[in-house]
């Protein structure tokens, strides 16, 4: 007994140090990435790669994707695949705009969350109560949500109100933004000095500390909150156990059906929040099709992030960053090719030192291809950027299936008391 106790305590200790070293490692990675960006920036002669404006835009573009991804996380951790994220997000945009137009932005946010949650509830009803195939239900929800929102637009907005069948009137006001006192000014000042690397780090920090919307702050805080709820509470353990082995959970007295309902409804609520964010912070208006597949990119970031909240945040940041670059300065995207080439070359060298010859060769060839692409062309088509999240996800899936692990019972039908 004592033996076992000491075992667990050392295990916990090693876990703690692992976490610390992980945190350090990721910081080092991030700094190295930033260093790479500033080097390329110096070579390519642009300043957009690391400017505070780019970072601020990247965050704004990443947040809706991230919220959808976190929504998917709750759902899939409870064992329900959610292809309906896109539809739930559409509901979020519509309700967010409608309530925002009627009562102001924060009410819009609230209604966006409710709108998404309603469709989450429908998904839960179909998949959990009636044990319908998760993908089928998700597809149906996407069709249903798009049609229902169109219907609501037609019956709600008149020409006089400034809206119509495909768009809403502009919402009242917008959500206030804030600068972090002192820090914002300091970072902006350093950024303006254009010191190699130091100004680039300051640019990133300035982007985070300047003119941030309060809703962005709320959204960013949801990431650690999700981690805490799922990995540090009994509720989270129960929810995750439903995604790993619902019958074992059932035998321990976990109310599996109810936990799955929590997961899926929360999923809809978060996707709805993502939709509301698009309306309230980005566009100020609802336009049909404004989600433009962001629910699916959220799903991609979930896979990219290996079903972890911080992974989702990292994945959506990458996609948001690429989006921001192409929006701000098309030529800056071209420099990304060089970034990709150098990064792949470094990976190839690392692979060779670890005696993984095939991986090294593949990565080396890819690096050469990107370098060639960079040298031969002088711009990247916007369509390539649009396809990037999907392409990257497909590549990650194809390259790293061994490292990715989705919840064991994710997508499987569960019926109470059917344990084999």
């Amino acid at each position: 007994m004592t033996n076992r106790l000491s075992d667990t305590s050392t295990e916990m200790q090693s876990k703690r140090s692992l976490l610390d070293s992980k945190a350090i490692r990721y910081t080092v990675f991030a700094l190295a990435g930033l260093f790479l960006l500033s080097t390329v920036q110096a070579i390519a002669g642009t300043s957009e790669l690391t400017s505070s404006g780019t970072w601020a835009a990247a965050i704004r573009l990443a947040v809706p994707i991230m919220l959808a991804g976190l929504g998917g996380l709750f759902s899939e951790r409870s064992g329900v695949v959610n292809i309906g994220l896109e539809g739930m997000m559409i509901a979020g945009t519509w309700f967010g705009a409608w309530a925002g137009w009627s009562w102001g932005p924060w009410t819009g946010v609230l209604f966006g969350v409710i709108g998404g949650a309603i469709f989450g509830l429908i998904h839960a009803l179909a998949t959990v109560t009636f044990a319908v195939d998760h993908i089928v239900s998700g597809v149906a929800i996407n069709i249903l949500a798009a049609g229902a929102m169109r219907f609501l637009s037609v019956v709600t907005y008149t020409v006089e109100s400034g809206g119509g069948a495909t768009q809403s009137p502009r919402i009242k006001d917008s959500i206030a933004t804030f600068d972090v006192p002192l820090l914002s000014d300091a970072f902006n000042w350093i950024e303006d000095r254009a010191w190699f690397f130091i100004s680039d780090v300051a640019g990133l920090l300035a982007g985070i500390t300047t003119k941030m919307s309060w809703l962005t702050l709320v959204a960013l805080l949801i990431v650690p909150l999700t981690w805490w709820a799922l990995w540090r509470t009994a509720w989270g353990l129960r929810l995750r156990s439903c995604g790993e082995n619902p019958y074992a959970a059932e035998s321990l007295g976990v109310p599996v059906l109810r936990m799955k309902y929590y997961g899926v409804v929360l999923s809809g609520a978060l996707a709805g929040l993502g939709g509301a964010y698009l309306v309230v912070v980005q566009a100020g208006i609802y336009r049909e099709g404004m989600t433009a597949g962001r629910g699916f990119i959220g799903l991609a970031s979930l896979i990219f992030g290996n079903w972890y909240p911080f992974g989702v945040a990292a994945g959506s940041s990458v996609f948001g960053y690429a989006d921001a670059l192409s929006l701000r300065q098309g030529t800056a995207v071209h420099a990304l090719l060089l970034v990709a080439a150098i990064a792949l070359a470094i990976l190839a060298v690392l692979a060779f030192t670890r005696k993984k010859t095939t991986a090294g060769i593949v990565q080396g060839i890819a690096a050469a291809l990107f370098l060639g692409w960079y040298l031969v062309t002088d711009s990247v088509a916007t369509q390539v950027i649009a396809a990037l999240p999907y392409l990257v996800t497909l590549l990650v899936l194809a390259m790293a299936t061994q490292r990715l692990r989705m919840p064991a019972a994710d997508g499987l039908r569960y019926r109470k008391g059917e344990a084999v």
Binding site: V132, A140, L144, V154, A300, L391, A398, T401
Partner: protein, 372 residues
């Protein structure tokens, strides 16, 4: 299959349609319209020759899309990428077909072949990734859909464009040898009015052929048997010598090949080119139709016609100041309701069977007791 079982399986789609009508009625009443008026005017509007032609035209791509999805469903493969497959196939088919002119039957065949090939290649990527890298086909086909959209936009703008000076962004218009004749003579042949301002598309013949081939493939060939066996019990199928990886790849290729033809009825009969506003959404609605028709060749045809009917008859609602978008709600509800209904009916059948089995063992036990 007993009569009772057949009635039970008809119960599911029927109750789903009734449920969708109820939801639509509630939506219409909530905005102050009379649902009965709306439905009756939809019905009377949709039973003219012109409407029937339009309804069938709308049903053709949905049906082909449903068949493409159903091929995968037979073995539990979910090709959610029909949308991307048919769009990219239509783009290439339009581009190739618009750049050549030859003897009409050959021209049409070539266009179809290109579409089938491109569709199969696009779905084949997902199939290949599944068998070599274990990537789930749902995720890969979703990603491939979006990659296809971007690729289409890029190719259409930069390489496949008809004439940069023209306002319309589209591939070159097909020469007339690449068109299919309409089938309006069918109406007059059977003594109905000829449809006005609309042509019953000749691709209908090919769609029916696809349906027949699908039926034969699934029910009458060895491949079809192995397909269904893999779907019902993958373990048993593997043990009896079905190579699962080859099955996955072949099925994905067939599914994508069929998907490639989804956009062709529009191309042959209506637009004669791949245009920027080429109709979208058939891929996802095809999934709905496949579910509605339970993967059966005839059932899916009825489902496609039902969707075609809803789309067509919706047009009258606008003239009567009723939002026609209510039809989209009905379509969404019908899909969700039908899968739930099938699930409930299955449980009913299951319960009945368990009960019957229990009864049978009990009577057998009693008989033994009596004998003892």
């Amino acid at each position: 299959m007993s009569v009772r079982k057949m009635l039970l399986s008809l119960l599911a789609p029927a109750s789903a349609i009734v449920f969708a009508l109820i939801v639509a009625s509630i939506a219409l009443m909530a905005v102050g319209r009379n649902p009965l008026d709306a439905f009756s005017s939809m019905w009377s509007f949709a039973t003219t020759s012109t409407s029937v032609a339009s309804m069938v035209n709308r049903a053709i791509p949905l049906y082909i899309s449903a068949v493409a999805v159903a091929v995968g469903f037979q073995m539990g493969l979910f090709n959610i990428g029909v949308e991307g497959q048919y769009l990219i196939a239509a783009l290439f088919a339009g581009w190739v077909g618009g750049n050549i002119a030859m003897w009409a039957p050959l021209h049409v065949t070539l266009i179809i072949l290109v579409a089938v090939l491109v569709g199969a290649i696009w779905s084949g990527i997902a199939g290949y990734l599944k068998i070599t890298r274990g990537v789930h086909e749902v995720i890969s086909t979703i990603m491939l859909n979006f990659i296809a959209y971007s690729m289409i936009a890029y190719l259409l703008l930069n390489h496949f464009r008809d004439d940069p000076n023209k306002l319309n962004l589209q591939t070159p218009v097909l020469p007339e040898s690449g068109w299919l004749p309409d089938l309006n003579f069918l109406f007059t042949m059977f003594g109905f009015d000829e449809p006005r301002g609309i042509a019953l598309q000749g691709f209908l013949v090919i769609a029916i052929g696809v349906g027949v081939l699908y039926y034969m493939l699934v029910k009458r060939t060895r491949f079809g048997f192995e397909l269904r066996a893999s779907g019902m019990n993958p373990g048993a199928a593997r043990m009896s010598g079905v190579a699962p990886k080859r099955m996955v790849l072949t099925t994905m290729l067939i599914s994508g090949g069929v998907a490639g033809m989804v956009g062709l009825s529009t191309m042959f009969g209506n637009l004669h080119a791949y245009t920027q506003d080429f109709p979208r959404g058939y891929g996802f609605n095809g999934i709905a139709v496949a579910l509605l028709g339970r993967n059966s060749a005839v059932g899916m045809a009825l489902g496609a016609l039902l969707f075609g009917f809803m789309d067509r008859s919706a047009l009258i609602l606008d003239l009567e100041d009723t939002p026609k978008e209510v039809v989209q709600i009905m379509q969404g509800v019908v899909v969700l309701a039908v899968v739930v209904a099938y699930e409930v009916v299955n449980r009913m059948i299951e319960r009945r069977e368990i009960k019957a089995a229990a009864e049978a063992t009990r009577t057998a036990d009693e008989r033994e007791e009596v004998a003892a």
